[in-house]
């Protein structure tokens, strides 16, 4: 009896002391619902990076653990989850998910609690440009305003568009890009043929496209997720309209190629990473881990690749900052983010990725244009 008790005490003691040493990494993302794939992709990227770090003994001898919470794509749920992770679980760093509205709601909490908040998908411009000083919010992902400039530039330079038309999902994300695209068009002195909204449950968007065709659109810029984006491609196909399509990355979050059918490949869209291109060392490592842990057989099986790639690089960058800070104190980690000088990542080699006025790990030069080809996402030459 006595030995049992002492064993129990020993077990409790060791597990307590172990957990005291662990560095807790929080994730608030959509783990269920329509965007569940994004949350799973981010989880995979974080998990692979954490396993790599732990295999090398963690950071300063402390192991990392991932604690996930589901925001169900709802800002109130995201806020509750972020508060719980910060005050109860005492996470050192918080990662965010795909939904801009959720991330925007978490930003003030992170800044007030002085906990670094790393965005790995949501592209809303105001997430990092939130006006707070000091600002605890960083991002390794695309940013809407920059994507909008890149999309418009691609349409006019590569597709020869003089009068592009916009097809936007009717929600806050579409609105954010409506502002960005209008500003980008004004800056580049490009006239827009028109702006059409599509609904997530529109069965046939031929009427919207007909309006753009009548207005003389010579390219379409698409901002929507996979299912409504596919509806647009199918309507375009039915109309026999061979207009070029340039798209934000929403269409990569589902089975766009299956949903859109034969013309899926005619939409060129933006990504931060492709597992199809020639892989660097990190790329080979991550792919091997995806194959081992998640049964991924080919690059085509990598679901929502940007989520995994962004999260993987962001986790390693955060680890470097914690290592430099020699502490998990939020203020120390925030400052150490600016001290990261060189990091061989998956998406690129980061050189001084962050500065006091620049919280974006990626820039428009890092965006690549891709398209679907026989079920695979391949870079456009």
């Amino acid at each position: 009896m006595k030995t049992r008790l002492s064993l129990l005490a020993l077990f409790l003691f060791t597990s307590l002391s172990l957990s005291a040493q662990e560095i807790k990494i929080g994730l608030v993302a959509a783990l269920t619902g329509q965007s569940a794939q994004s949350g799973e992709a981010i989880t995979r990227g974080l998990t692979i990076a954490i396993e790599e770090l732990n295999a090398k003994g963690g950071i300063g001898g402390r192991k990392l653990v991932l604690i996930r919470r589901d925001d169900e794509s709802s800002p109130p749920k995201g806020v509750a989850a972020a508060r719980e992770l910060i005050s109860n679980e005492k996470v050192s760093v918080l990662f965010g998910g795909i939904d801009t509205p959720v991330s925007l709601a978490i930003v003030p909490i992170a800044n007030q609690s002085k906990v670094p908040f790393m965005g790995v998908w949501a592209a809303g411009t105001n997430i990092t440009r939130n006006g707070a000083n000091p600002n605890y919010v960083f991002r390794v992902s695309a940013q809407d305003d920059l994507v909008d400039i890149a999309l418009l530039r691609y349409a006019s330079n590569k597709m020869g568009a003089k009068k592009p038309g916009l097809v936007l999902i009717n929600n806050p994300w579409g609105e954010s890009n409506e502002r960005g695209l209008k500003a980008a068009a004004a800056a580049a002195n490009i006239t827009l043929a028109g702006i059409e909204k599509i609904e997530a449950n529109d069965v046939d968007v031929t009427p919207q496209l007909t309006r753009l065709r009548n207005a003389g659109a010579d390219a379409l810029i698409l901002v929507a997720n996979a299912a409504p984006g596919a509806q647009m491609m199918k309507a375009r196909e039915r109309m026999g309209w061979k207009v070029p399509v340039v798209s934000h990355w929403g269409i990569s979050g589902g089975r766009f190629d299956e949903l859109a059918g034969p013309t899926a490949g005619e939409a060129h869209f933006v990504q931060t990473y492709s597992f199809f291109a020639k892989q660097n060392e990190a790329g080979k490592r991550v792919f091997a881990a995806l194959a081992k842990n998640y049964g991924v057989k080919s690059p085509a099986d990598v679901l929502a690749p940007v989520g995994t790639a962004n999260a993987y690089d962001a986790m390693h960058l955060v680890a470097r900052a914690i290592d430099k800070a020699k502490s998990t104190d939020g203020e120390a980690v925030r400052k150490a983010m600016y001290e990261i000088d060189l990091h061989e990542g998956l998406i690129k080699t980061y050189k001084r990725p962050f500065g006091p006025t620049d919280h974006e790990g990626l820039a428009p030069e890092d965006y690549i244009m891709v398209r679907f080809e026989a079920g695979k996402i391949v870079p456009v030459p």
């Binding site: 569940a36 909204k197 069965v203 031929t206 009427p207 007909t210 009548n214 196909e237 089975r255 034969p262």
Partner: protein, 295 residues
């Protein structure tokens, strides 16, 4: 200003969608005629038709000639089941709770599909129906866009003939006219009611299969469609099959015209406002007659 092309294109879209609203609404008509009840799981049944077709044809690799009848049969059985467990027990006790019960069964079905079929919307493989096309005064029309209204109206016509000529049709008509009298004439009222629900389920399933190639196949695809079909049924006057079919068509064309002129942000607002305004003007629907309330 809209030109002829835009007008024709919107009309084509509207006729396609509208005839499917009408076909699904005929399901509401037939169950209402026989039992005074409607199956609010009709939208979910539409979804089930598309999901079953996708599963049998694409996932299991069945030939269409087997997949379509099998999916129709299963949807008919499902709707018969809805009648047995969510309608009959309440009607027998003079309760209107079938309203909620059928809504609930529809939601349960949606969630079961969400679990088993998955959350990802899926797409039917491309075929000659969607990829082929003919030019008609500058307007491109795919075979599917022609097939949808043709099937919709053929079924409506067949229903009309069947109700007059076939034994089951006559039984259903008799029950619709007077339940007790029909029972006294030796007609199995219960069987006629279940049959009507099964037929309504088959109609919804056909609509689901026809719009699947236009749309995406997912657990939530039938919800709004079911509501619009019910709106068509009420708009047309639920006791008048021709009115119901025509109202579906009017609703579909109105939607497409609103989208083409005002933009899709206005479609839902204006089309449902139109439904409400019409019902305020003609409470029994455009083509319906007020039934006498028997006291």
């Amino acid at each position: 200003m809209m030109d002829t092309y835009a007008l024709l294109s919107a009309a084509m879209t509207g006729i396609g969608l509208g005839s499917m609203y009408g076909l699904t609404a005929l399901g509401f008509y037939i169950t209402f005629a026989v039992s005074g009840c409607v199956n609010f799981a009709q939208g979910a049944t539409l979804m089930l038709g598309a999901v079953l077709l996708f599963t049998l044809q694409v996932k299991l690799g069945w030939s269409l000639w087997f997949a379509i009848p099998a999916a129709l049969l299963l949807c008919g059985l499902w709707s018969a089941l809805v009648e047995r467990i969510a309608v009959r027990p309440f009607v027998q006790r003079q309760s209107d709770a079938w309203l909620m019960a059928t809504v609930a069964l529809g939601l349960i079905l949606e969630n079961v599909v969400l679990f088993s079929f998955g959350k990802d919307p899926r797409g039917m493989p491309a075929s000659i129906l969607t990829s082929g096309g003919i030019e008609f005064v500058g307007l491109r029309i795919t075979p599917l866009q022609l097939l949808i209204p043709v099937v919709g109206f053929s079924i409506a016509f067949a229903l009309r003939i069947g109700m007059q000529r076939s034994a089951l049709g006559r039984a259903v008509s008799a029950v619709a006219q007077h339940r007790e009298a029909a029972r006294l004439m030796g007609i199995d009222v219960g069987l006629a009611t279940t049959g009507a629900f099964a037929l309504a389920g088959v109609f919804a399933a056909i609509a689901g299969m026809l719009i699947a190639p236009l749309y995406t196949v997912s657990a939530g695809m039938g919800t709004l469609f079911g509501i619009k079909a019910f709106a068509a049924a009420i708009l047309g006057g639920i006791g008048n099959p021709r009115g119901v079919m025509l109202a579906g068509l009017i609703l579909g064309v109105a939607e497409a015209m609103i989208t083409a002129t005002l933009g899709s942000s206005w479609t839902q607002i204006v089309s449902f406002a139109f439904v409400i305004a019409t019902l305020a003007w003609r409470p029994h629907g455009l083509f319906g007659r007020g039934a006498l309330k028997k006291v």
